[in-house]
């Protein structure tokens, strides 16, 4: 479970987060929606413990990120905003590296890597160096390394950027499976259809504040619109930064 409570964060004169609060529950996929610059990435980086909030708390399974970042990160699988690959390593080696960083070793590690590779249908890629991988292949490697230690909580920062339909489906199916197993998934995206199709609950963020939250249907009802996109625009009060 991921809880964000009254987060404030300013950079010089810019207020990136202004009292943001929301909860992402276990067994649910929670989507964070917001225009560019709404504070999504700042919020997620605070969750990883990379940034320190000026005020408020972020907890992961009850562990305060600020007080104990290493323990909190152990329970997180992170798909960051910008993901690169170690291009001189093979996909397998890279997943192995992150598994070891999470303390896995020996047979258990090997087993975990094999499982995640099989689940993401990337057996053929596994022993190739990642230089020259396609966007979809890169996403798979990043996802595999984020999830190899089977974390209770996932945080994905716009994971479907630049992905083709097939890769998006692999990702969706994979996330849905984890939801069924009771994991907590927090997911930021620009793509309305995707959020509508995948998320159980949606948190709309604008200007560093919570603008609205609820199921996609509830949000539509709240705004009196049929489509989530229209509802979203109405809730945040402008159509700036909304990608189709």
């Amino acid at each position: 479970m991921i809880e964000v409570n009254n987060l404030h964060k300013s950079f010089a004169k810019v207020k990136a987060l202004d009292g943001l609060s929301f909860t992402a529950k276990d067994g649910e996929i929670t989507g964070i929606l917001g225009p560019n610059g709404a504070g999504k990435t700042t919020c997620l980086r605070t969750l990883y413990g990379l940034l320190k909030a000026d005020e408020g708390t972020a907890t992961i399974d009850g562990i305060n990120v600020l007080e104990n970042p290493l323990a909190a990160r152990k329970r997180l699988g992170i798909f960051p905003d910008k993901f690169g690959l170690y291009e001189r390593l093979t996909a397998y080696e890279q997943i192995d590296y992150f598994a070891s960083l999470h303390g896995l070793q020996g047979k258990a590690k090997h087993q975990a890597i094999e499982t995640v590779i099989k689940d993401l249908e990337m057996t053929e890629l596994a022993h190739r160096r990642t230089a020259g991988f396609s966007q979809g292949q890169r996403m798979k490697v990043t996802l595999a390394q984020a999830l190899v230690h089977q974390p209770k909580n996932f945080v994905l920062d716009e994971p479907t950027r630049g992905l083709d339909v097939m890769s998006t489906r692999v990702l969706r199916n994979y996330l849905a499976r984890f939801r069924e197993n009771g994991h907590c998934i927090l997911f930021s995206s620009h793509v309305m259809q995707e959020v509508a199709a995948l998320c159980d609950r949606v948190v709309v963020v604008a200007n560093g504040k919570l603008a609205a939250q609820g199921t996609p249907a509830e949000l539509c009802e709240l705004a009196g619109e049929k489509h989530l996109e229209e509802a979203f625009v109405k809730i945040i009060g402008s159509d700036e930064g909304v990608a189709a």
Binding site: Y48, L50, G84, E87, L89, E93, L101, G103
Partner: protein, 387 residues
């Protein structure tokens, strides 16, 4: 420990697979024998040869025997200067004026004024000038001796003291040069070899967007820095070992005795040099990581960090210019090692205590850099610079 092992293995794998970085890393080592051969060839030829000096002789025809004598010591008339050197010798403008009364004065026993003009402030001219002075003096003496001998006087009377002059300027300064250059070269190797890796694993990773992912993992930043430091220094040490080995081999082929050098790279010197240079490798990598992590891009890191390389090059040179250096200098990193390396190569035995102490100080300073870098990586500034 699992984490550190994983971090270290990953860094080493990446380093060894980066062929270009490895090439650069090992370049210093591979260039060492070339440098030694080139340097000793120049020094040996300088020490043993007497290159021709071209003198503009005015009135040479009045003193053919003097000219003949000049020729035996390779002092040649400017008329026979080869075309490619003509400009240089013309500019040097060494002139010797022999009066037309030479033969007459000689037979009458008068003092003959020979006018020798050259630029005495030009360093390159010092040797030619000395050779000409000597040649004239020797010729003059030989005539004087003959005059005395024909009068039945023992020439030894003229020489109550015999000053045996040895030309220390030339051959003996060469080994000092060779030790200085070799010492500097070794320090540079320690600084250069780990450099590509240090930049690649810090600023390079940031540019490839993998640093953020690493910082999000449940790993202490100190471990990250230590792993990166270990791998960069390991490569640097590898470069140093290779340089020392190749140098030892190369020096075996050079006749150093010819230039009066006395050192040889035996097991003691090899080990002592290695023990001296390993902490330098660590310090170099620690400094490079510290500065590279702070730069915004790979390119910026390259230019900042390259400036650090100047340190080991400048230090020994600065030392050379200093006549009285304070005692504490011996304990400062790089300077201390540089002095000890010089002593070792001069054949002065150096105690292990000194070597150990210099190393210890260097390692303590490296540790400070590591802690500072680890702290930096936790700061928001670094995170914000990620994108």
């Amino acid at each position: 420990m699992i984490q550190f092992k994983a971090l270290f293995i990953k860094e080493m794998k990446e380093a060894l697979r980066d062929k270009r970085a490895m090439m650069v890393a090992m370049m210093m080592a591979l260039m060492a024998p070339v440098m030694i051969f080139a340097m000793s060839k120049v020094l040996i030829s300088k020490a043993t040869e007497k290159p021709a000096v071209y003198v503009k002789i005015i009135g040479g025809e009045y003193a053919p025997k003097l000219i003949e004598h000049f020729k035996t010591t390779n002092l040649v008339s400017f008329d026979s200067v080869p075309e490619d050197k003509k400009d240089m010798w013309d500019e040097r403008n060494i002139t010797l004026t022999i009066p037309d009364t030479f033969a007459k004065d000689l037979s009458e026993g008068n003092v003959i004024d020979i006018i020798f003009s050259a630029d005495h402030s030009d360093k390159a001219m010092m040797l030619p000038i000395r050779r000409i002075e000597r040649a004239v003096r020797a010729f003059s003496l030989s005539i004087g001796y003959k005059r005395l001998m024909v009068r039945g006087i023992d020439v030894k009377l003229l020489q109550p003291l015999n000053l045996i002059e040895q030309d220390t300027a030339q051959p003996n300064s060469s080994p000092i040069m060779i030790t200085m250059i070799l010492g500097m070269y070794l320090l540079m190797t320690a600084f250069m070899s780990g450099l590509p890796l240090a930049i690649d694993s810090s600023a390079g990773e940031r540019e490839r967007n993998v640093l953020e992912m690493l910082l999000c993992q449940p790993v202490d930043t100190l471990k990250i820095v230590l792993a990166k430091l270990s791998s960069a220094s390991a490569i640097a040490v590898l470069g140093v070992v290779l340089t020392l080995t190749l140098t030892t081999v190369a020096i075996g082929f050079v006749d150093l005795a010819k230039i009066g050098a006395t050192f040889s790279l035996d097991v003691y010197i090899f080990t002592a040099l290695l023990v001296l240079l390993v902490p330098i490798c660590v310090l170099a990598s620690a400094m490079q990581l510290f500065f590279a992590f702070q730069s915004k891009s790979f390119k910026e890191a390259q230019s900042t960090v390259t400036m650090i390389i100047m340190v080991p090059a400048i230090m020994p040179m600065a030392l050379m210019m200093m006549d009285d250096r304070p005692k504490w200098f011996d304990w400062t990193p790089i300077v201390g090692q540089s002095l000890l390396i010089e002593d070792l190569l001069k054949g002065i035995p150096v105690g292990w205590g000194m070597i150990g102490f210099a190393g210890l100080v260097t390692l303590i300073i490296s540790a400070a850099f590591v802690v500072a870098t680890a702290k930096k990586l936790k700061s928001e500034k670094v995170v914000l610079a990620l994108s």
